[in-house]
Symmetry: C2
Subunit: 393 residues, 2 copies
């Protein structure tokens, strides 16, 4: 096991009706003037926004509002948010929405306290030194941003999707009310589930040996997702399925299942170019990319893929030919994604094989290789996109 | 799933040589004058204490020392610690030792800032309102106190073992260096492992339905312990086995595997009377009590015990007679404990069946029942002690 530091200080406030505690929570973490940041009108229409506002008002906390966050959140709205926060002396940002909304809020939180351009921190590794405190009310289980220090933002000019990360961006609190996800359409539910599973797989495929505890914790989250996702799609109102998925989504990405081991994250990077270029859902892009990535890299560690097949997908181990078991596991994953309504190739996603050179160019490996489980050259990435383009069940 | 709040703000600093960062860590969390609290002379003899002192000195942090913490830590030393801290204006307590040392440090942390007797908070439910900040350097994987808000202390007068809990008692940081546990004798290693497994089982047996994610996380920790414990006993110097056990021990008790569900904790309570009366190791007491408790309560939810048997112990499900599978799982647990060198009955533990009335009396159910998976009367507790007294493989 590798040396590591782990600190997840976010207070998770989980369960029915917990959004009514926002006023108390903002107060507890020192907020006096809040930016409520949200996405589409659904938070308004459902009455969620009113409940949050009422909770703030009851504690005498002032607020301003900024809606309009889109999936793959844009830098343009973040600039708007930064200006608004400065003008209104906002000292706490409350995201009411999904991962895109939280990531946008994190961008604003960085920008308000930074003299330069907040974009300086995205895709550059420049360390974040200050940020406004953030709280979240989560409306979709997917990104894990409610417990993580990560933020992914798309620069409108050129549709560049880049990320940053810092423990300073971990929310002070996150309200997780599974009931808020009961109205999600099946497609969005499945996209979220795919993202959650991908967060675990990016950690599962490691070159660090002897990490049984985090292997087992990864498998725990994946087994839960395999059980609960089809149930949430069949029975959208099933609170218990929604609750299990929601907590799994947080555990999948606050890094408790990933510490002490090298991780991969190439599938996320490769996917970001798809959702950047086509503005498709991140989860849908991952459904196309991740099994293709697995097929490209599995020979690097056949026994690890066999472990996935046996422990996660319930395959029988072929002791005579482990490679067959490894490949069976990858097929099970793709079939599962298809069954929950995810695309499995470029056509189903709405992507075009002829764009592959553009995607590889934007992914931006000039010389050298990526890091990760298997370091990839630009040629490797081309091959992965090509497998993804043509995949079948 | 039940509503819950979860917050585990401790910074875990995991890996080889990390104790050399104590100076930086104490400084980061605001300490200027430290009480180094430790147990036996082994921390001195191994050079660990000197390394910690050197690290503090390098950062210009003053300290005083108080050693002598015993297993089942006593109130008497805590009073001494409180006095010393007040006299020396200590503002940070650094425990260098195992769970007993941390629990003693927590008692001191409460007492220094409280005008009355620190014992007021133990076994009474009185909420802790203030405590000095604590850091830990862990030397045995067992109690989970390095990540929890719990503290268990024994009152010398009458050997009463009682507990308290508060998020204020969660350490600011915990240094987890698995190499420090490589010198632990097999018996102590096994006692620690049993305690870790018991922390999970106390959460696993729940009346809350549909908690797949935390069920699976519990199983992940237990499967790891089943793999790694015999390896650490066979090969004490095996860093990887020690590392997996150490992180499992923290995950087992910071409550990430227990949120959203009712828990039990009767086995812990019933055991505390054994280690209180006989001053035996807590883990050894649990090895005797926990399978006995299982045998007494399993009929309350046969399918949950069958799930334990199948998922944790790898038993075949007997679909015709699930009770047989449930009982097989309990037998597997007891056999495992025996195999790692734990006692499985009163004689092996050094306890006496004729003391059962005294134990039940001290456990203190006068009227009514305990809470938990199965609420227990004094008569039930008598039966559990009796099963434990006479258990065989």
């Amino acid at each position: 096991m590798d040396n590591f530091n782990f600190c997840s200080p976010t207070e998770f406030v989980f369960g029915k009706d917990r959004e009514n505690e926002c006023g108390d929570l903002v107060k507890k973490y020192g907020g006096t003037k809040v930016l409520i940041h949200y996405g589409s009108g659904s938070a308004e229409r459902s009455g969620l926004l009113s409940r949050v506002e009422k909770s703030l008002e009851e504690k005498g906390i002032g607020y301003v509002k900024l809606g309009g966050v889109k999936p793959n959140p844009r830098d343009t709205l973040i600039y708007e948010g930064i200006e608004l926060c400065r003008k209104e002396n906002v000292d706490f940002i409350l995201s009411v929405g999904g991962g895109s909304c939280i990531d946008s809020a994190k961008g604003i939180a960085i920008g308000v306290l930074y003299d330069g351009d907040f974009w300086d921190f995205y895709g550059t590794g420049k360390p974040v030194e200050k940020a406004l405190p953030i709280g979240t009310v989560l409306t979709i289980a997917a990104a894990g941003s409610e417990g993580s220090g990560a933020s992914v933002v798309t620069k409108e000019d050129g549709m560049l999707k880049r990320d940053t990360g810092s423990d300073l961006l971990r929310p002070k609190f996150s309200v997780l009310n599974p009931a808020l996800t009961q109205t999600l359409p099946a497609y969005q539910t499945a996209c979220g589930a795919t993202d959650i599973m991908a967060h675990v797989f990016e950690r599962y495929f490691t070159n660090t040996k002897e990490v049984e505890i985090t292997d087992r914790l990864c498998e725990a989250v994946l087994l839960t997702m395999i059980k609960e996702t089809p149930r949430a799609i069949r029975e959208p109102q099933n609170y218990e399925a929604r609750a299990n998925i929601m907590w799994a989504g947080t555990v999948a990405h606050n890094d408790i299942v990933g510490v002490g081991r090298s991780q991969d994250w190439n599938s996320h990077g490769i996917e970001h170019e798809l959702s950047g270029l086509y503005d498709c859902a991140h989860g849908a892009g991952l459904a196309v990319i991740m099994p293709a990535w697995m097929e490209f890299v599995y020979k690097h560690d056949i026994m690890r893929f066999a472990q996935m097949a046996v422990r996660i997908w319930g395959c029988e181990m072929n002791f005579h030919n482990p490679e067959e078991t490894a490949l069976q596991g990858i097929r099970c994953f793709r079939s599962f994604l298809h069954d929950i309504g995810m695309p499995i190739n470029f056509e189903e996603l709405g992507a075009k094989a002829e764009d592959i050179p553009v995607l590889v160019e934007k992914f931006g490996i000039k010389d050298g290789k990526t890091g990760g489980f298997v370091a990839l050259t630009a040629d490797d990435v081309t091959k992965i996109y090509t497998i993804a383009a043509n995949a079948t069940l």
